[in-house]
């Protein structure tokens, strides 16, 4: 059995959360946090983490407008070209986009691409950005609903889920709580909530249980009392003995449904069927005999 769903591999996830949390703390005073700033600052942080040069990080805490950010990228270009090289060399670390802001971040990358177009390294990486975009989007898909994870939680084994999805799965099999992807042990206390920067209310998704579906009750089958005697259309009469032996067979024999066609004469299946038929016939006789003499 193989699970071929594109899943983020375990070691990558901690880095993601790390980066997002650092941006979240370093950009507290950034006004309303639009996607542009978000993506830009993320890039800065990841770049500084990679190169450990702190020229760009000083701009992080100022609430900047788009235009000034543009110039910042330009200065980055001219002063520290090695950052851009690192960008192109490690594309996976440059493009962490927020869930739901894929469109915006796309624009951002086009902008960055145009401003840094003169450097050869970035220009070369621009060609397959769309594909990267796709891969990245699927990286943050919930493994259950296949949508971008909402109220995301990550298991100890590194698999990403929406909390409502995972919760429903755990409810489905309360006595066998296994990770849907790798079948490792999983539970409410064994998953970690993920907080992105733009999530306004940083409450633990595990605390809000998805709205429970309303209780379902089906009306009982209409009981029409004793139906044994009916004189309306033709006369029939039936008598029952407490434990009617064939009531037992109805559970497995399904009289209401069409039977499979009998096998062709001469095949092994035909012989089998004949044997079975005899067996059941004897069984029936045995039951009747037992009823009569017991």
């Amino acid at each position: 059995m193989s699970t071929d769903t594109p899943i983020p591999s375990a070691p990558e996830l901690p880095t993601t959360s790390h980066i997002t949390t650092t941006t979240a703390t370093s950009n507290i005073n950034t006004a309303e946090g639009d996607a542009w700033n978000a993506a830009f600052n993320e890039n800065n942080v990841s770049a500084t983490e990679v190169t450990t040069t702190t020229t760009a990080s000083s701009d992080n805490n100022t609430p900047t407008s788009c235009i000034t950010n543009d110039t910042n990228t330009n200065t980055n270009d001219t002063t520290t070209p090695n950052i851009n090289e690192k960008f192109a060399a490690t594309p996976s670390s440059t493009a962490y986009s927020f869930a739901g802001s894929a469109l915006n971040s796309d624009n951002v990358k086009d902008k960055i691409g145009s401003t840094t177009g003169d450097s050869s390294a970035a220009g070369g990486g621009g060609g397959d950005k769309k594909e990267e975009e796709k891969v990245e989007e699927s990286m943050f898909e919930c493994n259950i609903c296949l949508d971008t994870a909402k109220d995301a939680v990550v298991s100890m084994c590194g698999h990403l889920f929406c909390w409502p999805c995972l919760h429903q799965w755990l409810e489905t099999r309360p006595n066998r709580k296994l990770c849907p992807v790798c079948k490792a042990a999983i539970g409410k206390d064994k998953v970690i909530p993920l907080y992105g920067r733009n999530s306004t209310k940083q409450e633990d998704p595990r605390n809000k249980v998805p709205p429970r579906p309303a209780g379902q009750r089906t009306e009982p089958e209409p009981q029409q009392g004793f139906q044994g005697f009916s004189f309306a259309d033709g006369f029939h009469m039936s008598f029952g003995i407490g434990a009617f032996p064939f009531g037992y067979f109805t559970s497995s024999l399904n009289f209401g449904e069409p039977r499979p066609a009998a096998a062709n004469r001469g095949t092994t299946q035909y012989e089998d069927e004949q044997q079975l038929s005899k067996l059941f016939l004897y069984l029936a006789f045995l039951c009747i005999a037992w009823l009569l003499f017991a």
Binding site: M1, T3, D4, I144, S251, L253, N254, Q269, E273, A284
Partner: protein
């Protein structure tokens, strides 16, 4: 045995069906509704959305030997017909089979109902002649991270690893006594070799 069955069927025909016969196997209950009778839209769209996504990816990038019957899907999203072809170099090389996937509103938390349909049902130690498949991921080992694609792949690999074309030993008994829905069968998974 068929005699007895026919005998009983004839008896039951002229009588109104009794409750004791019907209650045993019921079709999956309809989509749950709220008190005011509206369907639970939230739940409803979620499983449909996931099926749509799976369908798109299956049409766009079908795994080798697997193709979706798009007509059947457009008619009813909860019943898919999927054609699979036996791989080269296996006992089923060049043979075409058709699988029927039935999804209920609990999908993906509940496994789909998967059977072989059509004239050509593979002769395989884990496939009964009525199309039922003995495969653990279709019942107890199901996980919501599995998909139509992975189920198709599992079935294809199950066929490919077959060494001898034969029916399961209890084929006749099972085919004559089983429920139409293979998920109602209590499967016993004991043979991991094929």
């Amino acid at each position: 045995m068929s005699k007895i069955v026919k005998l009983f069927k004839n008896n039951k025909k002229d009588k109104p069906p009794k409750a004791e016969i019907i209650t045993e196997q019921k079709e999956p209950e309809p989509i749950p509704t709220t008190k005011c009778g509206k369907p639970l839209v939230l739940d409803n769209t979620r499983w449909e959305k996931r099926l749509q996504k799976e369908l798109m990816s299956l049409i766009k990038e079908p795994p080798p030997g697997v193709s979706v019957d798009e007509d059947s899907v457009t008619r009813n999203l909860s019943q898919w017909k999927i054609n699979i072809t036996g791989f080269e170099g296996t006992l089923y090389e060049g043979e075409n089979f058709q699988l029927l996937f039935k999804f209920n509103h609990k999908y993906p938390f509940d496994s789909p109902e998967v059977t072989f349909i059509g004239n050509n049902i593979p002769v395989h130690p884990h496939v009964y002649s009525n199309g039922h498949i003995c495969l653990s991921i279709l019942t107890e080992d199901w996980s919501p991270a599995l998909s139509v694609q992975s189920v198709c792949l599992s079935i294809a690999s199950m066929l490919s690893s077959c060494r001898e074309k034969k029916r399961p030993p209890d084929n006749t008994l099972y085919v004559n006594t089983c429920n139409k829905n293979p998920k109602k069968t209590k499967w016993w998974y004991h043979d991991d070799s094929v």
